[in-house]
């Protein structure tokens, strides 16, 4: 056997893994430079692997004479348990992939929240619409009041207005409009207001009209919602808040138009 044949035998021992380290390193170095030995190694290595494969365990004693004792049932659990923290750790840094049920739950939550927000927004819109409507009504009322005030001012200062002196003020009639104009009216008792009364022509009983309170200066200008030409008398009394259907106190004044 020549030297290279001996080297090829060493390559076989190297492939099987039975060489001491120093000899293994020498063969490995030789493989880097010798094509023939490298080819021998490439040829034998799969056979060595096959020897290992021959040891694959068979756990079925009923069908295989060379069956072996299987590993304990906890081996797999032990291994899987060991990688779980690693999995959890990786999940913490990797993009999260949500399972379908989580996505569905998230969608449901979003839908519910959206619904709630929608309801809330609708409620807000509704409230704002109401407020807007109320503001419009107030605006209309203010415009009306402003008009009434300007009208009242014009009526009260009109040279041709008819003025009737009463306690704490006067009653003014102008162009079929009727006003109670107080300038020194004391505030009503607590829980009480002033209420106007009118007597229509031909009637025998006073009808309840508007309620009012003077400002801190005792001033109150109250337009009465009637046609002055149809009113025979006007009166004012102190009544409970909200007014009364019949006078419950002695009138502060009663004015009869003649």
């Amino acid at each position: 056997m020549n030297a290279h044949e001996t080297m090829l035998d060493d390559v076989a021992a190297y492939a099987l893994g039975v060489l001491p380290p120093a000899e293994a390193r020498a063969v490995a170095a030789h493989l880097q430079t010798c094509e023939e030995c490298r080819e021998e190694y490439r040829l034998l290595r799969p056979a060595v692997t096959a020897v290992g494969i021959s040891a694959e365990a068979c756990f079925d004693a009923a069908t295989a004479a060379d069956s072996v004792a299987p590993p304990g049932p906890l081996l797999k659990k032990r291994i899987m348990r060991n990688i779980r923290p690693n999995v959890a750790e990786m999940r913490a840094v990797r993009p999260i992939v949500w399972p379908a049920y989580a996505v569905a739950a998230a969608c449901l939550v979003v839908a519910l929240v959206s619904g709630i927000i929608n309801i809330s927004l609708n409620s807000q819109v509704h409230r704002l619409e109401n407020e807007s409507a109320q503001m419009a009504a107030v605006t209309r009322q203010l415009r009306l009041s402003n008009t009434q005030m300007r009208t009242a001012l014009a009526d009260l200062t009109a040279p041709d207005s008819q003025r009737y002196a009463v306690a704490n003020g006067e009653v003014v009639k102008h162009a079929n409009r009727l006003y109670i104009a107080m300038n020194a009216l004391p505030p009503p008792p607590k829980g009480k207001v002033y209420q106007a009364w009118t007597l229509r022509n031909g009637a025998t009983q006073m009808s309840p009209s508007v309620t009012f309170v003077p400002n801190p200066g005792g001033v109150a200008v109250v337009p009465l919602p009637v046609n002055a030409s149809q009113i025979a008398a006007v009166a004012v009394s102190v009544e409970p808040e909200g007014g009364s259907k019949q006078p419950t106190s002695k009138p502060t004044f009663v004015l009869k138009f003649t």
Binding site: V11, A15, V18, P46, V51, L75, I83
Partner: protein, 187 residues
């Protein structure tokens, strides 16, 4: 499914499973364990002769697969696992006896030289091929692979000259390869 068909199926799946393991897919790792734990455990048990020690090696090998999946690039996954298992088992033997100290680290886990054509072989086919070897060749090959001793120790145990041991190993491996090539071709 026949065992050989199942084995081929597993081999085809190994690359894909390892790709998923690299992405930290625990389900793929579990599938890999189910497909290859018999091989790992079988090699370890044959080398160590102890169920508990074989289980420890099996666990070490699979945890290594999980922690360092990039050690396997592609090719014969069975071959890679066998080498890794043998090296771990040698570590155990080395810790128990001075007779195995000299064999440390001579079989790299990531040796790229492997033929994918043999990857579909199952244990029964290889055992059959081994039985066709002359007894003196088969004994040296199996003793050399599974006992983890040096060629000198093989010579001492069998009473065969060292040169003859190496020649028989080479002849046996060549014949085994030829037989297996016929098996693969027949499949």
């Amino acid at each position: 499914m026949l065992p050989s068909e199942a084995k081929e199926h597993c081999v085809e799946d190994a690359d894909r499973l390892m790709a998923r393991v690299r992405n930290r897919d625990a389900a793929a790792f579990e599938a890999l364990y189910d497909a290859y734990h018999r091989l790992v455990y079988g090699v370890a048990l044959r080398m160590l002769g102890d169920v508990s020690a074989a289980e420890d090696v099996t666990q070490a090998v699979f945890l290594k697969i999980w922690s360092s999946p990039n050690l396997f690039a592609s090719g014969n996954f069975s071959g890679w696992v066998v080498r890794m298992t043998r090296n771990r088992a040698l570590d155990v033997l080395r810790s128990k006896s001075r007779a195995h100290v000299e064999l440390s680290d001579q079989q790299p886990d990531d040796d790229p030289i492997e033929e994918r054509a043999f990857a579909s072989l199952d244990a029964a086919q290889v055992r059959m091929a081994l039985k066709q070897l002359p007894a003196e060749q088969r004994e040296l090959i199996e003793l050399g692979f599974f006992s983890g001793v040096t060629h000198e120790e093989l010579a001492r145990r069998t009473g065969v000259p060292l040169g003859t041991v190496k020649t028989r190993i080479r002849s046996g491996l060549r014949r085994l390869r030829t037989t297996l090539e016929g098996t693969v071709t027949a499949v």
